[in-house]
Amino acid sequence: MADLRVTVAGVDFSNPLIAASGTFGFGREYNEFYSLSVLGGISSKGITLKERLGNPPPRIAEAPGCMLNAIGLQNPGVDYFIQHDLPWLKQQGTVVIANIAGNTPEEYCAMAEKLSHTDVDMLEMNISCPNVKEGGVQFGTSCMGVEQITAAVRRHCTKPLMVKLSPNVTDIGDIAAAAEAGGADAISMINTLTGMRIDIQTRRPIIRNNTGGVSGPSLLPIAVRMIWQAYQRVKIPIVGMGGISSWKDAVELMLAGSTALQIGTVFFSNPYAPIEITEGLNRYLDENGIASVTELTGQMIPWEN
């Protein structure tokens, strides 16, 4: 048995697998399959200051090797989360991360302040939701925006602060560096890549929002590349995600530079994925005589060109 424990921004995880925001609700549904303690952590559905109803349907489409979603941050609001979901989540034996999204820096700061007074373990600031105008993406796509909003929230947040980056940018390395400069304790990446599908009979986009965020296996090579690029630019830990569907994908994202991982879309086809991926990771480490999973982080050997 290899040691699967990892530490991100001072928070200890029993293994590197964290449920990705928006794919796992607030944990209750998947708790029907297994104890949530099989996961290193859970990142909550994106929370906003006030309740949001989300986008009109259809919200989902499929494409080869991936899916698109435009949920539109449907959530009951931060106060409801703190009262009804957080206490239950904290009893499940896993790290609890609150994923927050906002319209203005003030909204992010207000949420950070409220959550700093709770026993949530970490905040993940989503400045990359592609599906709502007011989902923070306006801050997430320029270096100045990323640095400023990170610095502002940092001042209101006593919890470890992770910033979730958008892949819909020209230079991910610059953006990662901006988050670090703003005072982020960690970065998580990547959020979904904006995409679109059209029904060729009706000539309408399948998703009512017209565009949606692409996730799932097809995202893997993009995530690997972006994590590698970010890893070369920052010292803070990277929580890597995008298209993981097997333990091999998990190893790849670790080698590219991740300290911990998030898995999302894979839950939809295989609810038991975290258990299978942890087992696979363990076997891989044992077979290669690696004592701790932390030894994988960033250990890819790039070709010199």
């Binding site: 928006g22 609700g25 549904e29 029907e32 399959f33 109803l53 259809p58 989902i60 489409a61 086809s269």
Partner: protein, 254 residues
């Protein structure tokens, strides 16, 4: 346990109408959990998302589930090529099915097209107390008529083009029928027409809805449908996979 994932052996397969397939799966304990109106979420080799298909019938004693589906796209096409002794990986039974209060009451079941299958397991609970209205595009698409008759129900079939049964819509056949409750599954225009009947007669009506799904268990919030909040009647979104697929029609914003 409410539901689980299981790789099920296909026991039998039949092509029962144009592009329409009838499969029986050995689902063991999952068959025992199944309620009328619930669905199975089927993994399709090579696809990122599962496909939701209604439970058409369940045999608790033998641990089997029956599903009937029509080829609509690539996913259902791939599934239709599976054969007996192949396997299907299902996540089941999912969702909130039809609420059955009193099977001694006379009820009306109305199904349109590929919305017919989930009504069979429900009809079996009511037997002779159920009148079943089945609507199809044409004779080639008529399915399950014999199964409803075998369950002891009174069956009325309608086709859009008049090639079989009544020429017209199922809703044309309602006047003069006596019943205390209605259950339906089918295209939205049919459900809307039935909602008007329910309003006029003051009869309860439960309808089954469809929406595109990812998780199937209520976690991703993908399968939203517009509903009214009970207390305030404000509009909100419910989720077809967990709050439904079956809803009290008064909750739905058509």
């Amino acid at each position: 346990m409410k539901f689980d994932v299981k790789t099920c052996r296909i026991i039998s397969k039949q092509n029962i109408a144009a592009d329409t397939y009838d499969f029986t799966l050995f689902a063991d304990k999952l068959a025992q959990l199944a309620q009328p109106g619930q669905f199975v979420h089927i993994q399709v080799p090579g696809k990122t998302l599962r496909r939701p298909i209604s439970i058409c019938d369940a045999d608790k004693e033998n641990g089997t589930l029956r599903i009937v589906f029509q080829i609509r796209g690539e996913g259902t096409e791939i599934l239709s090529r599976l054969k007996p002794d192949d396997t299907m990986n299902i996540l089941a039974p999912l969702g909130h099915g039809y609420e059955i209060k009193d099977t001694a009451k006379k009820v009306l079941l109305a199904g349109g097209g590929i919305g017919v299958p989930p009504l069979l397991y429900l009809a079996k609970q009511y037997g002779a107390n159920a009148t079943v209205l089945l609507g199809f595009r044409s004779k080639d698409f008529v399915i399950l008529e014999q199964d409803f008759l075998q369950a002891g129900c009174r069956v009325i079939v309608a086709t859009d083009d008049g090639t079989y049964g009544h020429h017209g819509m199922v809703t044309d056949c309602i006047d003069g029928l006596a019943f205390e409750e209605m259950f339906a599954c089918g295209p939205e225009p049919m459900l809307k027409a039935l909602a008007q009947v329910a309003n006029r007669r003051g009869t309860p009506l439960q309808v089954s809805l469809e929406e595109r799904m990812a998780c199937g268990v209520g976690a991703c919030l993908g399968c939203a449908c517009k509903t009214k909040r009970e207390e305030t009647q404000d509009e909100t979104y419910s989720h077809v996979c967990k709050d439904g697929p079956v809803f009290d029609y008064r909750k739905i914003v058509f």
